[in-house]
């Protein structure tokens, strides 16, 4: 009865990798902030408010938008944010 039996693994058999987040810049003065609109309803209203306030505080703001909230951001958007901005704010809404 105590023999060893086995089942087959139904999962992808992947092991997760923990990656530390990029450290927050010690000084954000004059940094470029990306505002990513995830295309949920009223995301733009929320991000418009942020843009106004960031701009008033001297930040450079760049806007990006996903095609739809239900799908992942396209690779070119991700790469553009990485190459063009220092900080990203991803906007939810509804």
């Amino acid at each position: 009865m105590a023999e060893e039996l086995f089942m087959r693994d139904p999962t992808s058999e992947a092991s997760s990798t923990l990656r530390a987040p990029v450290p927050f810049p010690p000084d954000i003065t004059g940094k470029t902030i990306a505002l990513l609109d995830i295309a949920k309803e009223r995301s733009d209203e929320f991000l418009d408010t942020l843009e106004t306030r960031f701009t008033a505080d001297g930040f450079i703001v760049k806007r990006y938008r996903k095609a739809s909230n239900s799908k992942n951001a396209a690779q070119d958007i991700v790469q553009a944010i990485v190459s063009e901005a220092d900080i990203v704010v991803e906007g939810l809404a509804d």
Binding site: L5, S12, S68, S70, K71
Partner: protein, 479 residues
């Protein structure tokens, strides 16, 4: 391992009249002194009184010798089989053994019986135990003292209900339900974007409780769910209620015993229940989409355990869903809808198509919110009794659809934000427009199904993601 010795080999069982018949022949062959091994499948004392009979009740030798019938007589030379015969045929046995005059008094010929090693379900068990298997998935060992069902729970493999442990013999049986290579990649499963092979589909189908003959449907369902238009990634992580809802059409629904009649959206039918469950287990196990993690549903819905049914195609006047969506009549197809729940629609007083369509429209406009339009796609399940009212007026699918779209189109002034004291609604700029509730090409999927008694129909609501109608749609896949 198979016996590698040269000479004669016989495989027999007591529960075979022909094996009983040839017992004296076996004794005579043994008496000649030629190397002779007799394997018995069911009773180590059979043939009675014969020395040296080898117990093969574990069927290992029968499996290795690929025995389909008993008695089987094999002659081996130089380590390899050179000839075999099965059943009793005097001429064949004399030719194989080179000994004349065998079986005096016996008939010239008598067919044998099936080998125990090829009885239903046994062969896969023997293959799992003694043979090579095509499965590549990692083996998860457990002690004979452990309950494999509890092991599956503890590993997070289940949807909250017990699963059938995915052992090799069960997976082998499941793989027999498809001619496809177990290593073939069916698609990339979100959210972890991991490859899913036919083998992984079979493993999860075993766990869900499927029969092998469901595999063609299951594979079509997985492929449909991975069509970019279905947006499985977004659906599995939505705040909304929805999950995949599966409608199956075509001859296979009858072949595998699916339910399109009484309680077709409820419990009690194995195919309905397990096909839908398999997709959800694959999303969970292969894709990593789990509630409370990336699945952020506020409520979810009971259909996220399983939501699968067939359409009633027994009425020749009705155009089935898959045909309406471009699949040839007589072909099989699955249609996947991003949906949830069930809204009742009971109307016992309408007696004309016109009355019934207007009545249905009153309920259809309410999905998600009465003032939200062109967002949810819905399935309308029309019962046979409700369909009969349309059919008696000469209304076919096309006319029913036309009228329901017409009667669910309303003035913008009633739907704009703030109208009727309700902030929710469409943009104020739509004030003077007429606003259809559903997208014309795919927003209203009608399925004829349900029990034959009852002036009831049912609405399966849709996902709010449907507002992105160019990108997110129901998907039909032929197979």
């Amino acid at each position: 391992m198979a016996n590698e010795a040269d000479g004669l080999i016989a495989i027999v069982k007591r529960d075979c009249p022909t094996c009983e018949l040839v017992a004296p022949v076996l004794q005579r062959l043994k008496d000649t002194g030629v190397p002779f091994t007799i394997y018995t499948q069911d009773d180590p004392t059979f043939p009675d009184g014969m020395d040296g009979v080898v117990d093969d009740t574990a069927l290992e030798q029968s499996f290795h010798h690929d025995v389909e019938f008993v008695p089987t007589l094999i002659r081996r030379e130089k380590g390899a089989e050179v000839e075999r015969t099965f059943g009793w045929n005097r001429e064949d046995w004399e030719k194989l053994t080179g000994i004349q005059g065998l079986g005096e008094g016996l008939p010239e010929n008598q067919p044998g019986c099936g080998s125990k090693s090829v009885e239903p379900g046994v062969h896969e068990l023997l293959q799992a135990r003694y043979g090579a298997v095509p499965m590549k998935a990692r083996k998860i060992a457990y002690s004979g003292w452990d309950d494999p069902v509890e092991q599956a729970f503890s590993r997070g493999w289940t949807d909250g209900l017990p699963i059938v442990p995915p052992t090799d013999e069960r997976i082998l049986r499941m793989l027999q339900g498809t001619p496809r290579d177990p290593a073939e990649i069916v698609g990339i499963i979100p959210p972890d974007m991991k490859e899913c092979t036919v083998e992984k589909v079979a493993i999860n189908a075993v766990m869900a409780g499927c029969l092998p003959e469901y595999m063609p449907v299951v594979l079509a369902v997985v492929e449909a769910a991975l069509d970019p238009r279905f947006c499985m990634h977004g659906l599995l992580c939505t705040l909304s209620y929805s999950g995949p809802v599966i409608v199956v059409n075509g001859p296979i629904t009858k072949q595998i015993g699916m339910n399109w009649g009484h309680n077709c959206l409820g419990q009690g039918n194995r195919a309905n229940a397990t096909i839908g469950r398999t997709l959800q287990l694959i999303i969970r196990n292969v894709g990593g989409g789990r509630p409370g993690e990336i699945d952020r549903a506020v409520f979810g819905n009971p259909g996220k355990f399983t939501y699968c049914f067939a359409e009633d195609e027994t009425d020749a006047t009705w155009t089935p869903l898959h045909v309406a969506r471009g699949v040839a009549p007589g072909r099989n197809a699955v249609t996947l809808h991003q949906g949830h729940g069930l809204t009742s629609f009971s109307d016992n007083r309408s007696r004309t198509g016109e009355e019934l369509a207007r009545s249905m429209a009153l309920q259809l406009v309410n999905d998600i919110h009465p003032k939200v339009v062109q967002t949810p796609n819905v399935i309308l399940c029309i019962s046979p009794e409700h369909y009969r009212i349309f059919e008696q007026d000469g209304w076919d699918r096309a006319k029913i659809e036309d009228k329901l779209h017409e009667y669910t189109t309303r003035p913008g002034k009633d739907l704009v934000q703030g109208a009727h004291g309700v902030p929710e609604g469409v943009s104020p700029e739509k004030m003077k427009d007429m606003m259809p509730k559903f997208w014309r090409d795919h927003g209203l999927l009608i399925v004829r199904c349900g029990g034959t008694a009852g002036l009831l129909s049912a609405i399966i609501g849709g996902w709010s993601g449907g507002r992105n109608h160019d990108e997110i749609q129901p998907v039909t896949k032929e197979f």
